[in-house]
């Protein structure tokens, strides 16, 4: 392990605190504060991975995570970006996508096969003859993909989520971001500041060059950070990457937990009134041959290795740069002991005179108008060739590091994913954000500023603009801040060079997908002439780095190669998440919840087997016998209780309540009598049945009605929607959760009920289809209806949810002598099917109308003037015989019931089975089916085609319905 500096003010490591980890099966040590990548670097690792396609060796390049170069498997989790992930004791680190090791990859030979793999080569190969494709495909799948994940992988850790709000959200905790946060906070606003690194300070934080009055940039960063941290109304989220920005300033990010935090990672979704984006810049990759050979790294990476992590990148470094940061890096690293034979600066002029002097004072050779054209060395950089930009003169230098950077690229992601436009700017050579979304501002280095004071001033101005949006800042103050900016240096001039003078066979514009300049040329020649198409065809920017490396180089090169007179071409679309984010982190905690009825606990104790039904969980069975024989027989012969609390229950009252009901229900509800129950249905505009239920009249302009379980959630919206132009006066209350329902059914139901109520429940006192309100034990108010869904004597008792258990227990106690039993949803399903009572969605489908399902009797043709939803369609459909109709059928020769969903066929499909069962009550197989109109005649023979029947049909006959108790005596007894 190399010795680490421990005296620099900028260091973030503690060299005294060693941290063990396992790499390729052996134990190594890093130090506290190391990222995984820096710990490996300190242990001499230079090749972290192999590239996707060509298996080229890859090393530390930017340290910002915009490429897959240092992605490794950590603790079984694939594709961890080791350069931005901090080392923890005991981490197990493995290489990915290599045969052998990253150092010696047996697949490295593929790099020489690039001639056989031009852009989009797979579209032109492997399909002739057709036989080879399946074989080739398997190989492609094996070769593609980077990390490995076990199908049993269990993700350890705690994943949390928070949804804070604030007045101003600042994305980026560099100088501009901090100044913006302070400016808004000083106006009394609540500010949230998000910073991707674990500390504030941004790209000045690790720079020891002079800021002002012999204060260094680093010292200034520390000073600002302290100021931010002590400002109470700034909430700072460090180690928090912004991943999305959306309409109306919804901002998402994820935070990585510290040791002291209760979470591993947490998802943050916040709503801000205004947003300042101060995300700064990354460096623009310099394009030359082998520009991603391990040992080639950007200036910021080399500088941070030394200043933040306490080690030199190597012994001897050639610099090929196009920005002042390059000169500063050279001077700083020279002082720490790095030998620098030459700096090739793309720029002929325009360098910061102070930095130029610093370099010359240190006797470092600087060649202006020169650029690296090739890195030599098969696995790591050993030599570098530099040439004059016009390629007339060349020199070669031995070295183990090449610091290479073409300049800067602004990080405009948070702006453009929220619909800012990008426009090419000739001065900075940036695509700058224009037409910013409302209440969103850009500040700092991403606008092209390099001068620290300008960066701070632009942050301050943006913070005030955001405050102005919150009405906490005056125009005059804004004007002053703008004026202050004008006295400071403007954006720096950007270098124009896109590629070094090379042919580009091994000049990689996209590292992740191994796309070279040559591949881009091939794509353009094939007609893929805009970056978005080139991306799709060549893969550039489609990899884990999501275009971070191709960035602005791709559109700039595309324009240049086509010799376009002006650069109207845009970079490819940036998409969330701006930083790849774990599915575990996005998921946070699970939000899907089910509603439980008041009887839930008791029914589970009674052995109920529950199923999700819509938004509810309901007891479907009460034994493992899924035919429900016992439950069914007990209802038919004795008495059972069903928890019907999931039914939709509503009260509608007010002068226009009846009008509203008449609009949505097909029956004429003006005829409804107090004390009676009216069964009716709702249709949609196509006449298709969407709901059925009962309506009772509670009093003048006051109704209570029920809907099916599945429809309850949409009912209010439905009624509001269909009455929206009427200005009607009615109130609609959803009582679904407030009321529970007990369905007491069976020939002994009356005997049970008698025991708990004071009123007359004889057939004369409380007849079929009647409605009564009464109180049980002077306490429990009951709305009771006599219905017959299951075809037996039946009471539906609606009681406040809080009394459900009490009443249930009372009935249960009263029913003991009759052996009262639970019955579940499936038993009810069979019971009602025997009676041919329909369940919508089971006996109907999307296209089934009221008439098709045999419920035309509900439709009051005389009811006019209410514009009842669906009636126009019903009138039209009435003449149409060519529709599917609901029929009942029995099986031939005492055969078994067909499966639900079986088809009815001749040489084509004529219908399908809705519900069919071997009926215990009838001792034969019966069912209901939707069949073509001409087959609905009684006596029609139906041929059933079931799945896996191999063409062996079974047969049944259309019969009269209902099957059970056709006169309906039992439910009326």
């Amino acid at each position: 392990m190399m010795t680490r500096f421990n005296h620099l003010p900028t260091l973030k490591i503690n060299t005294g605190d060693k941290i063990p980890f396992t790499y390729k099966g052996k134990t190594f040590y890093g130090v506290k504060g190391d990222t995984i990548a820096t710990a490996l670097y300190a242990n001499g690792v230079r090749i972290y991975a192999r590239s996707l396609k060509y298996h080229r060796p890859r090393g530390l390049y930017s340290m910002n995570g915009e490429c897959s170069n240092t992605m490794m498997e950590v603790n079984g989790i694939p594709n961890v970006r080791t350069e931005t992930t901090y080392l923890k004791p005991g981490m197990v680190i493995k290489e990915q996508n290599v045969k052998g090791s990253a150092e010696n990859d047996l697949l490295g030979f593929i790099d020489k096969m690039d001639w056989a793999m031009p852009a989009g080569f797979y579209y032109d190969t492997m399909h002739k003859p057709a036989k080879i494709w399946p074989v080739a495909m398997k190989q492609i799948r094996k070769a593609a993909g980077i990390g490995k994940l076990s199908p049993d992988h269990h993700m350890p850790g705690k994943y949390d989520e928070i949804f804070p709000t604030c007045d101003v959200c600042v994305i980026g905790g560099g100088h501009a971001g901090m100044k913006a946060a302070l400016a808004a906070a000083q106006k009394g606003l609540r500010v949230i500041l998000m910073e991707a690194r674990p500390w504030l300070g941004g790209d000045f934080e690790y720079r020891t060059s002079e800021y002002l009055d012999s204060q260094t940039h680093h010292e200034r960063a520390v000073q600002l950070a302290k100021e931010v941290e002590k400002t109470e109304n700034i909430r700072v989220f460090t180690h928090t990457a912004n991943v999305g920005t959306y309409n109306n300033n919804l901002v998402t990010g994820f935070q990585i937990g510290k040791e002291s935090d209760s979470f591993t990672e947490r998802y943050i979704e916040l709503r801000a009134n205004s947003v300042v984006v101060a995300t700064g810049c990354i460096e623009r990759p310099l394009l030359f041959e082998n520009n991603e050979r391990p040992g080639v790294m950007q200036a910021g990476c080399a500088l941070r290795l030394a200043n933040t992590y306490g080690m030199l990148p190597g012994k001897t470094a050639v610099f090929s740069i196009g920005h002042d940061l390059g000169l500063e890096t050279a001077a700083t690293l020279h002082d720490l002991g790095l030998s620098i034979p030459v700096i090739a600066d793309i720029r002929e002029d325009g360098q910061d005179p102070k930095l130029l002097k610093a370099v010359l004072d240190r006797k470092i050779t600087i060649l202006k108008g020169w650029v690296a054209t090739e890195a030599h060395g098969s696995k790591q950089v050993k030599k570098v060739t530099i040439k004059s930009v016009d390629a007339t003169v060349s020199k070669t230098f031995d070295c183990d590091v090449l610091v290479a950077s073409a300049g800067f690229t602004p990080l405009t992601g948070p702006l453009v994913i929220n619909q800012a436009k990008l426009t090419y700017d000739n001065h900075t050579n940036f695509f700058l954000p224009t037409d910013l979304p409302k209440k969103m501002y850009a500040a700092g280095r991403l606008l092209g500023f390099e001068n620290a004071e300008s960066i701070e001033a632009s942050g301050h101005l943006a913070g005030l603009k955001a405050a102005y949006d919150c009405e906490n800042c005056s125009i005059a103050e804004l004007g002053d801040a703008k004026k202050a900016m004008e006295t400071l240096p403007g954006p720096a001039r950007g270098t124009k060079l896109i590629t070094a003078p090379v042919k580009g066979r091994k000049t990689f514009i996209c590292f992740d997908e191994d796309v070279s300049i040559k591949n881009i040329k091939q794509s353009i020649n094939k007609g893929f002439d805009v970056p978005e198409l080139i991306k799709r065809f060549s893969g550039a920017g489609l990899g884990p780095g999501q275009g971070g490396i191709p960035g602005h180089n791709l559109p700039l090169f595309t324009a240049k190669y086509q010799a376009l007179p002006d650069i109207r071409i845009k970079p490819t679309t940036v998409r969330p998440p701006l930083v790849p984010t774990l599915i575990a982190t996005y998921a946070g905690t699970n939000h899907t919840m089910f509603k439980r009825t008041p009887m839930d606990e008791m029914q589970r104790k009674d052995g109920g087997i529950f199923r999700n039904i819509g938004v509810w969980q309901r007891a479907r069975y009460f034994s493992k016998d899924f035919t429900c024989k016992k439950e069914i027989e007990n209802v038919r012969n004795n008495v059972g209780m069903l928890d019907g609390s999931t039914l939709g229950k509503f009260r509608i009252h007010g002068p226009d309540a009846l009008n509203a009901l008449q609009r949505v229900y097909v029956s004429d509800l003006s005829k409804i009598k107090e004390g009676r129950v009216k069964y009716t249905a709702m249709c949609n505009d196509d006449g298709c049945v969407i709901d059925d239920g009962v309506v009772v009249k509670l009093g003048e302009n006051d109704y209570y009605f029920s809907t099916s379980t599945g429809r309850a959630g949409q009912t209010i919206e439905w009624i509001r929607y269909h009455t929206r132009y009427e200005n009607w006066d009615f109130a609609l209350v959803n009582l679904t959760d407030a009321m529970g329902v007990i369905n007491l059914s069976g020939p002994n139901a009356r005997k049970v009920l008698e025991k708990v109520v004071d009123i007359d429940v004889s057939n004369e006192g409380f007849g079929f289809s009647e409605y009564k309100e009464f109180t049980i034990a002077d306490t429990i108010p009951v709305k009771a209806m006599r219905l017959g869904f299951v075809g037996e004597l039946s009471y539906e008792l609606h009681v406040p949810a809080s009394y459900m258990k009490s009443l249930w227990l009372m009935l249960n106690e009263a029913g003991k002598e009759f052996n009262i039993q639970n019955f579940g949803v499936e038993a009810q399903n069979v019971l009602r099917m025997e009676k041919c009572h329909v369940i919508l969605g089971q006996e109907s489908e999307q296209r089934t109308n009221l008439l098709d399902i045999g419920m035309g009797f509900l439709w009051s043709r005389k009811k006019t003037g209410y514009k009842t939803v669906g009636v126009a369609a019903l009138i039209q459909a009435e003449k149409d015989n060519n529709r599917l109709k609901l029929v009942g059928f029995k099986m031939e020769n005492n055969g078994r019931a067909p499966k639900d969903g079986a088809l009815i066929v001749d040489d084509r499909v004529l219908g399908h089975v809705c519900t069919a069962r071997n009926s215990f009550s009838l001792n034969e197989a019966v069912g209901m089916a939707l069949v073509q109109g001409d087959m609905s005649k009684i006596g029609t023979r139906l041929a059933f085609y079931e799945d896996e029947c191999n063409g062996e049909l079974i047969y049944g006959t259309v019969v009269e319905t209902p099957f059970y108790d056709p006169e309906g005596k039992r439910m009326k007894m």
């Binding site: 996707l52 694939p78 594709n79 797979y122 579209y123 032109d124 190969t125 399909h127 057709a130 094996k142 593609a144 993909g145 980077i146 990390g147 994940l149 076990s150 992988h153 269990h154 993700m155 999305g244 959306y246 919804l250 020649n525 805009v530 978005e532 799709r536 065809f537 990899g543 884990p544 679309t573 998409r575 969330p576 790849p580 774990l582 599915i583 575990a584 996005y586 998921a587 946070g588 089910f594 899924f626 949609n684 196509d686 006449g687 949409q714 969605g841 489908e845 999307q846 039209q876 149409d880 529709r883 499966k899 969903g901 079986a902 088809l903 066929v905 499909v909 399908h912 079931e946 799945d947």
Partner: protein, 407 residues
């Protein structure tokens, strides 16, 4: 082995003042129609008019899943034909469409759902399409990453397994069809916007574009999510189409983990692994109609929550990008294909929702037949617009659609 570096879909031609046929929209249905017009009917004086670049819309935004296990007898044969055409087109176009017939598993989370799926399975088998109902254990054997325990929100009861389905490389289909059509003389005019259709005496006479007027007697409008608005704007024909944003996303690439397309209606989520190794996932639509392709914070989080439950291994994978596209939804989830009905010479092919990709090859072929012969092929007849006026929906879904209040 490699075609030379020349533009794949022909040189950039100058727009002529007349063509036999004009196709509006540079998506898959247009390209396929053009291809078959040229190939099977010898009609090559054809111009495709595309406002952006070919494959800009749904063609390049879908997640490339193909299958033929639809619900009704009107749909299954059409999708079966489309499914059978992928290998044929690969050969004809001499372009690898990368058909991966890995099979689809549609997860079922209740007995009721299993019963509902049984009808799809029976319909498929009746039409000679392989499809089976399997139980949860069998599903787990096929997809080892599946969580079949009971302690998730929607426990898995089984699945509808459709072996011949899978994934086709969508971009390859766009470029392959463009290449094939251009080779036979079809002209593809990108960055050309259609702004109107001229008619005279109830007949199409011309298409107006921002690059000039094109005289033609036949025009097909098949512009994906933009079709309904264009058809209304150009000809005043109102279609019962709601346009909704649908989003999809991919994770970072992994070595083979999922060998099938896995989807779940209850979780509103599907997932499959692309040949590149990314897990592609998506499913439900945003609940409000709009014409943007913007993504939402809610959606990606929902997908993560869903995947966390039924494919929990994926919790260790990172989402890499999310994008949006438009789904043009009809009330019965079935498309509108019609011609010579509202205006002579005007054909439309739209309302595909999220089924446009799977169907494109077969539909292009039949639409070409329709346009060439001016006779609607039987297989397309049930998809005519008039079905809505007659209140006769197609029944492609069992449940009612509730993507808008006026369903």
């Amino acid at each position: 082995m490699f075609s030379k570096s020349k533009p794949m879909w022909g040189k950039k031609n100058k727009l002529k003042s007349s063509y036999d046929v004009v196709l509006i929209g540079g998506g898959l249905h247009s390209l396929a129609t053009a291809y078959y017009l040229a190939k099977e009917h010898g009609i090559t004086d054809v111009a495709i008019i595309e406002k952006n670049y070919i494959g800009y819309g749904g063609a390049g935004r879908n997640t490339a899943i193909v299958r033929a296990n639809q619900r009704t007898q009107y749909n299954v044969p059409l999708y079966k034909e489309a499914l059978d055409l992928w290998p044929v087109l690969t050969r004809e176009l001499d372009y690898n469409l990368m058909f991966n017939n890995c099979g689809n598993l549609n997860l079922m989370h209740s007995e009721a759902a299993m019963n509902a799926a049984r009808m799809n399975v029976a319909t498929a088998q009746f039409h000679g399409v392989e499809s089976h109902l399997i139980d949860a254990k069998q599903a787990k054997e096929l997809v080892p990453a599946l969580n079949i325990s009971d302690d998730i929100t929607f426990p898995i009861h089984g699945a509808m397994y459709h072996p011949p389905g899978g994934v086709v490389r969508h971009d390859a289909v766009v470029w392959g069809l463009a290449k094939g059509a251009a080779k036979m003389g079809v002209e593809i005019h990108q960055h050309t916007e259609a702004t109107g259709i001229q008619t005279k005496n109830g007949k199409v006479t011309a298409v107006v574009t921002d690059k000039g007027v094109i005289n033609t007697k036949q025009v097909l409008l098949s512009a994906g999510g933009y079709s309904a608005a264009l058809i209304h704007g150009f000809l005043g024909i109102k279609l019962p189409i709601s346009v909704l944003t649908i989003q999809a996303m991919v994770t970072q690439p992994l070595k083979p983990l999922l060998d099938h397309v896995v989807s779940s209606g209850a979780y509103h989520c599907y997932a499959n692994q692309t040949l590149k190794g990314e897990i592609a996932t998506g499913a439900h639509m945003d609940p409000w109609p709009n014409y943007t392709t913007l993504t939402t914070a809610h959606y990606i989080k929902h997908q993560a929550e869903a995947l966390s439950e039924f494919l929990p291994a994926l919790r260790g994978v990172r989402f890499m990008r999310i994008w949006g596209g438009l789904a043009d939804m009809t009330p019965d989830m079935a498309p509108i294909m019609d011609g010579n009905e509202q205006v002579e010479g005007f054909f439309m092919d739209c309302g595909w929702g999220y089924f446009g990709f799977k169907s494109c090859s077969a539909v292009g072929r039949h639409m070409a037949d329709f346009m060439a012969t001016n006779t609607c092929p039987d297989i397309l007849k049930p998809f005519a617009l008039k079905r809505y006026k007659e209140h006769k929906l197609m029944g492609e879904t069992a449940a009612l659609m509730s993507y808008s209040p006026d369903n």
